[in-house]
Structure formats: structure tokens, C-alpha cells
């Protein structure tokens, strides 16, 4: 099996597990919808305010829902020592990382799509006419975040307070992705799109290149026993 096949196998395993339990997706989704509800009650935003606070709110929701999901990603592997099994399997450890990372990425995307749609619905806010930009920004912002989140989830899994440690480690390191994604989303919300849009999209591309490569290289040191 080559590297890509191994990655695909790990990814498929995670998708299958999630399909059968639906633990991560349900909790992430419910959390996301609750944040939107809280947003309404906390600010009672009109359309101008939605335009102003919407990008920040969306990404805050994505970030915290993502953390919720990624905390589960390795918690499941600890039960029955299945991580040990993965490590003993004849696969490249980089493929383990990549497979788990893509699974987290995928779950976050599913949740984000539903949250974006409900945001459009609840706040009467037309995201659809910016669809291609929103898709680009969401993909880029989520990829880097999922990559850092996956390696840090693997780190915090080994600590005494794994649920608490993940956000403490992840939020500061993922900050550039959040800044870039929020700025790009804000620029995409305005009509016509702000000139900052392409700049921040490029920024996210560079950030992703660095923070997908680096965890991929460092992951074997996290697993090593």
C-alpha cells in the first residue's frame, strides 16, 4: 500500500466510525446552532450589525465546534488501545496524521456548511451571492486549523487534562488562521468585495502550506513511545 492508499484507509476508517456513532458531528452541530441562538439573544443584531459581527461570529463558532470535534478524534483511539494497533500496523505514521487530519477537516466542513446555511436562514443574510468566495475561504481557513488541531489533539490526548489542554494549546497557535479567515470573510461580505479579500486568501494559502507541512513532519515524535 502506498502513502495515499494508507491515508485513504485511515480516513475511511474514521468516516465509518463517525457514520456509526455520529458522536462528533451531532455535538458539533448542536453546539454551532446553539451559538447562533445565543448570538441572537446576546446582540439582537440588525442587518448592519450582522454584516459587522457575522464574520467573527461564524469563525468563533467554527473554531469552538472544531475543538469539540477534535477532542473526540483521538479520545476514541485510546479506548481499547486502538492507537497502539494503528501504530503497529504497517503504515507510515505520516499517513495516520494525514488521514485523521482529513477526517477532522471533513467533519468540520460538514458542520460549517450547515451553520452557514442556517446563518443565512436565521439572519436573512445572503451568503449565496458570494458562494465561490465563501467556499474558498472556508476551505482554506478550516484546513490549517484542522491540521494544527489534529497534532495538538494528539499531544493533549497524552496529558492528564486532555479536554482542557486542547483549546489552551490550539487557540493561540491557530490565531493567524482565524485572523485571516475573519478578515477575508468580512471583505467578502461587503458589496462589492473589499480589496483585502485576495490578500487574505493568499495569506491563508501560505499559512496552510506551513502548518500542514510542519505537523506532518513532527507527528512521528508525538506518537513515539
Amino acid at each position: 500500500m502506498n502513502f495515499l492508499n494508507q491515508t485513504a484507509a485511515i480516513l475511511w476508517k474514521d468516516i465509518l466510525t463517525e457514520y456509526r456513532t455520529k458522536d462528533a458531528l451531532t455535538s458539533m452541530l448542536l453546539f454551532g446552532l446553539l451559538v447562533i441562538l445565543m448570538f441572537h439573544f446576546a446582540f439582537e443584531p440588525d442587518s448592519l450589525e450582522t454584516e459587522k459581527y457575522g464574520p467573527g461570529l461564524l469563525w468563533m463558532t467554527f473554531v469552538f465546534a472544531g475543538i469539540l470535534g477534535m477532542n473526540r478524534a483521538f479520545a476514541g483511539e485510546r479506548e481499547n488501545d486502538s492507537l497502539q494497533g494503528l501504530m503497529l500496523a504497517p503504515v507510515d505514521w505520516g499517513a495516520i496524521f494525514l488521514g485523521k487530519m482529513l477526517a477532522n477537516f471533513l467533519f468540520m466542513l460538514v458542520v460549517e456548511t450547515i451553520i452557514l446555511l442556517s446563518f443565512t436562514l436565521f439572519f436573512n443574510f445572503d451568503l449565496l451571492h458570494r458562494l465561490s468566495w465563501m467556499v474558498t475561504i472556508t476551505l482554506l481557513g478550516t484546513l490549517g486549523f484542522a491540521s494544527i488541531g489534529t497534532i495538538l489533539a494528539a499531544i493533549s490526548m497524552n496529558t492528564r487534562m486532555s479536554d482542557v489542554m486542547l483549546p489552551l494549546l490550539l487557540l493561540p497557535v491557530a490565531l493567524p488562521a482565524v485572523i485571516g479567515a475573519v478578515q477575508a470573510t468580512a471583505a467578502a461580505f461587503t458589496d462589492p468585495p473589499g480589496e483585502a479579500l485576495t490578500f487574505w486568501v493568499k495569506f491563508l494559502v501560505v499559512f496552510n502550506i506551513i502548518f500542514v507541512t510542519l505537523p506532518l513532519l513532527l507527528f512521528e515524535y508525538v506518537l513515539e513511545e
Binding site: I148, I151, L152, I155, S156, N158, T159, R160, M161, M165, L168, L169, P172, V173, L175, P176, I179, G180, Q183, A196, F199, F203, F207, I210, F211, L214, P215, L218, Y221, V222, E224
Partner: protein
């Protein structure tokens, strides 16, 4: 031990010289008006921030070296550098806000430098928190090294992101500061203070590493006594 004592004496002398330079030799800053004396905090402020960056760089460097070679000594160096970075960073943050209140009229502004420095400080604390919640020493060293590298790479990116962001949306007026060009005497004072802080940093680092090694030795001795059936307290 001997080199440690000479380092201590050097730190002491340099600190005295720095204090003299700051309070007597350096001229009073004029543009800040009657409260120009406040500017003297600048020398300590810049020096402690510089030391924080230096410490972070050592965390980064020793973390990489640790992953390559895996010796306990490198782990000790990275961990203690992070501790010192947190202390000097706290000092930098506090001295900065003390200066900002009379000059800017506010304690804090979300300027690029302030924001990224604050984030760096939080990351350093997170690093130490991580070390506390991992039980096995070998694992602790590896995990914190990985986090140290990720975090250190992140800091310049955060700084640049903030700068680009703020240039597109100008921040509230930031007046004062040394601005363009520094008076010659002021520059010299700053140099002396920075050297003094750097030496202080290396002195403390050495002491802290020594303490950690002693702790290791004590632990090893205790374990040896325990295997011989003796209870140690």
C-alpha cells in the same frame, strides 16, 4: 561553580552601570512634556522584551535539537528558557502598560506589537502548563518540544498578520515612543541595559538548569535507596 560566581558579579556590575545610565546619564525625553521622566522605563521595557524573544528563540532551538538528539540536558534548557521567558515577558507587559497609561492615556491598545507579544506570553504559559500535565518525563520532553516548535514558528506569523491587518484599518493614534532616531546617549543607555539584561538572563538560566539537574540527581538517589528497601522522605 566558579564561572557562576563571576557571572553573578558581572550581572551585578552591569545592572549598576545600567541603573546609573538610565537615571543619571540619559537625558530626559522632551516630547512627552512634564512627564518625560516616564520614558526612562523604556530601557527596562525594551530590554526585558528583547530577553523574552531571546528565551523563545532558545526554546525553539533546544526543542529542535532535542528531537534530533533526545538528551535530557536539551529538554532542561528548553523548559527553563520558557520559564525565564514568561518572567521577563510579564515584566515587559507590566512596564509597557505603566508607560502607556500616562503617555497614550490608555493601558492597552491592540497594536500589532502588543497583540503578538501578549500572544507569545500566553503561548509560553501554555507550554509550561503542557509540561505540568504530562506524567512520563520522556513523553513530556517530546510533546513539549513539538509544541515549542509549532508555537515559535507561529509567533512571527501572528506579528505579520496583525501588522497587515492594522495597516488596512489604522489603529487609534499611537504617539510618542522613541520614534524615528534615538538620541546618542539614549541609544548607549539602551545598549548597556540590553547587555545587562542578556547577561542576567544567562546567569538565571544557568542557575535554573543547575537546579533542574540537582533535582534529577536527588530523584535518582531516592529511587536507588528505595530499591534497597529504604524509605526516604
Amino acid at each position: 561553580m566558579k564561572s557562576q560566581n563571576s557571572l553573578a558579579i558581572l550581572t551585578f556590575v552591569l545592572m549598576l552601570v545600567a541603573l546609573y545610565a538610565i537615571f543619571i546619564y540619559a537625558p530626559t525625553e522632551r516630547t512627552m512634556g512634564p512627564i518625560g521622566e516616564v520614558q526612562r522605563i523604556f530601557y527596562f521595557h525594551v530590554s526585558s522584551n528583547w530577553t523574552t524573544f531571546l528565551a523563545t528563540f532558545f526554546v525553539f532551538l533546544n526543542s529542535i535539537l532535542f528531537l534530533m538528539r533526545g538528551t535530557r540536558e536539551l529538554d532542561i534548557r528548553a523548559a527553563t528558557a520558557a520559564e525565564l521567558g514568561t518572567i521577563f515577558g510579564a515584566f515587559g507587559l507590566i512596564s509597557g502598560t505603566i508607560w502607556a497609561k500616562p503617555i497614550w492615556g490608555i493601558w492597552w491598545t491592540w497594536d500589532a506589537r502588543l497583540t503578538s507579544f501578549f500572544l507569545l506570553w500566553l503561548i509560553l504559559i501554555g507550554y509550561q502548563m503542557l509540561r505540568r500535565v504530562v506524567d512520563s518525563p520522556g513523553q513530556r520532553a517530546r510533546l513539549s518540544a513539538v509544541f515549542g516548535i509549532l508555537a515559535a514558528v507561529d509567533v512571527p506569523i501572528v506579528y505579520m498578520a496583525n501588522r497587515w491587518w492594522r495597516t488596512q484599518h489604522p489603529a487609534p493614534v499611537i504617539a510618542g515612543g522613541a520614534g524615528s532616531g534615538l538620541d546618542r546617549q539614549m541609544a548607549l543607555t539602551l545598549c548597556i541595559t540590553m547587555v545587562a539584561f542578556t547577561v542576567l538572563y544567562f546567569y538565571l538560566w544557568k542557575l535554573r538548569c543547575e537546579l533542574e539537574r540537582t533535582g534529577d540527581t536527588v530523584e535518582a538517589l531516592q529511587r536507588r535507596l528505595q530499591t534497597q528497601g529504604l524509605e526516604v522522605r
